[in-house]
């Protein structure tokens, strides 16, 4: 078996075009997918629950009425809003995947904004089962709320500055329907100065008035700094994020297991399928199995060949990716376990394809034709299709190594969840595809 393995490696080395394709193609695909995956869908469906009473839909700031709707319109342009009436309904829609997220505006938002004593909080519920989706929703809502928040901050700052100017310079202001003349520090200072001059030089009151005058001047000077201070006031609206279920892996790190899984799949499936089909194409299979190598041994050799090559490629890819993404090398043994079992699963699948196809070109074609749809199915986010279709997709995905490999790699690289179940799943798939491959070899000699 060792000799067969060395033979296959030598053949691979003498097929530079094939070897290069096997390396470049998956990496190119992985990059494309990483790119595609880092862009979200257009206008995600977002449930909106507006708990504001009708009376509270305008803000009264510094005597000016501000229409809250003006600040939410921008958000509604970026998403496809679905109006809901209760919290339960919002939660339901997120859970079922009908919407990507729900935005809840609680009734006390306007009051909190008006008093300015505590930040007003809006709540975002999202389904983080799929990091691609979660990240997109998170980004969109954060950006829009930030915009609204900034606009309100500007408005609040303007109002506050108006008050400060009034304190500093004085002027007329309407208060509770009556026109009031506010004195202001500037005029106060002038009045104090005039009063001081009228006092006898030795008067003790003169010194006390001196202190009042110095305070007024100091206050005025320092109030002119308040523009900057106010500009740095914290955002008046805070976003309270809540994940409904699923792990939360940030997108950039999720792209790594996706890219790795794709590369693993291509290299391993195509190599195992091609190497096995080659034995038949070169007519060597009958010669090998008449006592030289048992059929199971031949299968094990092909699976091993593909898995070893895939492991090397995956490690090279990880080393290269670690230049761009922060990878926790401390969990290296788990990476190896995830890559190795994923590679074994794909290799067994490749061997089954190679056994059925019996010809290198047919095997490669079949390998690609089977792998791609399985991979794309495994990446379909839960909200994208109806519940029934999604269940069907899950079943199909579970029958192939892509989904469990992705889960195992995500768990190993990003701690997205326990790694045991996907590894066990892969072990079962390896045995199942190995059995199919073994069956396909029964009639392989002809």
């Amino acid at each position: 078996m060792r000799w067969l393995l060395l033979k296959d490696l030598r053949i691979l080395r003498r097929s530079p075009l094939l070897a290069a394709l096997l390396v470049i193609y998956p990496i190119a695909i992985a990059l494309l997918i990483g790119f595609a995956v880092s862009r979200g869908p257009d206008r995600p469906r977002v449930a909106i629950l507006n708990e504001l009473p009708a009376s509270a839909r305008t803000l009264s700031l510094g005597g000016e009425d501000v229409d809250v709707a003006r600040y939410t319109r921008r958000l509604f342009e970026a998403v496809d809003p679905v109006t809901v009436r209760t919290r339960a309904e919002a939660l339901d829609k997120v859970r079922s995947g009908d919407v990507l997220a729900a935005l809840i505006v609680p009734p006390d938002v306007t009051r909190k904004l008006e008093t300015g004593l505590e930040p007003a909080t809006v709540q975002v519920l999202y389904n983080a089962e799929d990091p691609v989706k979660a990240r997109y929703v998170q980004d969109t809502i954060k950006a829009q709320v930030q915009d609204a928040s900034n606009a309100l901050t500007r408005k609040l700052t303007q109002v506050a500055l108006g008050y400060l100017k009034l304190i500093s310079s004085g002027g007329r202001v309407s208060l509770l329907g009556r026109d009031v003349d506010v004195l202001g520090l500037e005029r106060a200072e002038r009045i104090v100065r005039a009063a001081r001059r009228e006092l006898p030089r030795a008067s003790a009151s003169r010194e006390r008035l001196d202190r009042v005058e110095r305070f007024a001047a100091l206050a005025r000077d320092n109030l002119s700094l308040s523009d900057d201070v106010l500009a740095s006031v914290a955002s008046p609206i805070r976003v309270d994020r809540k994940v409904i279920h699923g792990g939360a892996t940030p997108l950039s790190s999720f792209a790594v297991p996706v890219a790795l899984t794709f590369s693993l799949m291509f290299v391993t499936v195509l190599l195992a399928a091609g190497a096995l089909a080659l034995e038949r194409e070169e007519n060597a299979f009958p010669r090998l199995v008449r006592g030289l190598v048992p059929r199971s041994g031949l299968l094990a050799e092909k699976v091993g060949l593909a898995a070893i090559c895939a492991l090397v490629l995956a490690l090279v890819m990880l080393a290269a990716l670690s230049a761009f993404v922060d990878l926790g090398w401390g969990r290296f043994p788990l990476w190896i376990a995830a890559i190795a079992l994923g590679a074994l699963g794909f290799a067994a699948m490749g061997a089954a394809i190679g056994g059925l196809a019996r010809e290198v070109r047919a095997a490669s074609l079949l390998g690609v034709m089977l792998s791609l749809p399985v991979a794309f199915l495994a990446l379909v986010p839960s909200g994208a299709v109806s519940g029934g279709a999604y269940d069907a997709i899950r079943v199909v995905s579970a029958a192939f190594p892509f989904r469990p490999t992705l889960s195992a790699l995500d768990a190993a690289l990003n701690r997205s969840g326990p790694i045991g179940p996907p590894l066990l799943h892969l072990a079962v798939l390896t045995l199942a595809f190995g059995a199919i491959a073994r069956l396909s070899l029964v009639r392989f000699a002809r």
Binding site: K7, N283, L292
Partner: protein, 236 residues
């Protein structure tokens, strides 16, 4: 003499593909240095018979006198790796056959087949004739007492054929029992001590070329014509 020198014996071989019988109770024997030709039209069951003798397929009934792994087998299509050189192919199969002296066996076969100067050429670059020589060399690596060849000359031009037969006759002279299939009757008549006629899986005749000629009753026709007439008379 036949009894003592017998190196291979098969009795009542049957092979079915579904309901179709590709071999129906074929028996044969071969002795040291004997050249046995299996002749018959396409689809007669020649390949099936040889691959059962070689152990590539298992018969549905019947028995073989020796483990199939002990015979040398040369399939009709060269079973070689095109990307490996001549020497690498020989070395690989010598190792898989667990030949004691791998390098010795490789050198011996390179010399016998006259391919020593092409040893480092990839098999894919060889001519059909040379590829067939490497194919045969692989079958002889373990120095088997019995060599099975499935239509060895089918893809060769007359000059290559001539060289091939010289080589095979040398092996037989050295004591190897050679069983080969062909659909070329004239070739079988020239290069065989014994002929087996196979048609639709049935063994119609076993004997020397002269005996077959007599059975056919050549009567003015050439041997090939007589053979076709013989098959026709037997209902094939």
């Amino acid at each position: 003499m036949e009894g003592e020198d017998r190196v291979l014996e098969a009795v009542g071989l049957v092979k079915r593909y579904g309901t179709r019988e590709a071999l129906s109770g074929v028996s044969l024997a071969a002795s040291r240095g004997e050249l046995v030709a299996v002749i018959g039209p396409n689809g007669a069951g020649k390949t099936t018979l040889l691959s059962i003798l070689a152990g590539v397929q298992r018969p549905d009934a019947g028995s073989l006198s020796r483990p199939a792994g002990e015979v040398g087998w040369v399939p009709q299509q060269a079973a070689l790796y095109g990307k490996l050189t001549v020497a690498e192919n020989l070395r690989l199969f010598a190792r898989l056959e667990k030949v004691a002296d791998v390098e010795g066996a490789v050198e011996r076969m390179l010399e016998q087949t006259g391919l020593a100067d092409r040893r480092d050429d990839q098999v894919a670059t060889l001519s059909g004739g040379n590829r067939q020589r490497v194919n045969i060399a692989v079958g002889l690596l373990a120095e088997p007492e019995v060599l099975l060849l499935d239509e060895p000359s089918a893809a060769l031009d007359p000059r290559q054929r001539e060289r091939l037969w010289r080589f095979i006759l040398d092996r037989a002279r050295a004591g190897t029992a050679v069983i080969y299939s062909t659909h070329d009757v004239a070739e079988a008549e020239r290069y065989a001590h014994r002929l087996l006629v196979l048609a639709d899986g049935e063994l119609l005749f076993s004997g020397s070329p002269a005996e077959l000629e007599a059975a056919c009753g050549a009567g003015g026709l050439d041997f090939e014509g007589a053979f076709v007439e013989f098959l026709r008379r037997r209902g094939h």
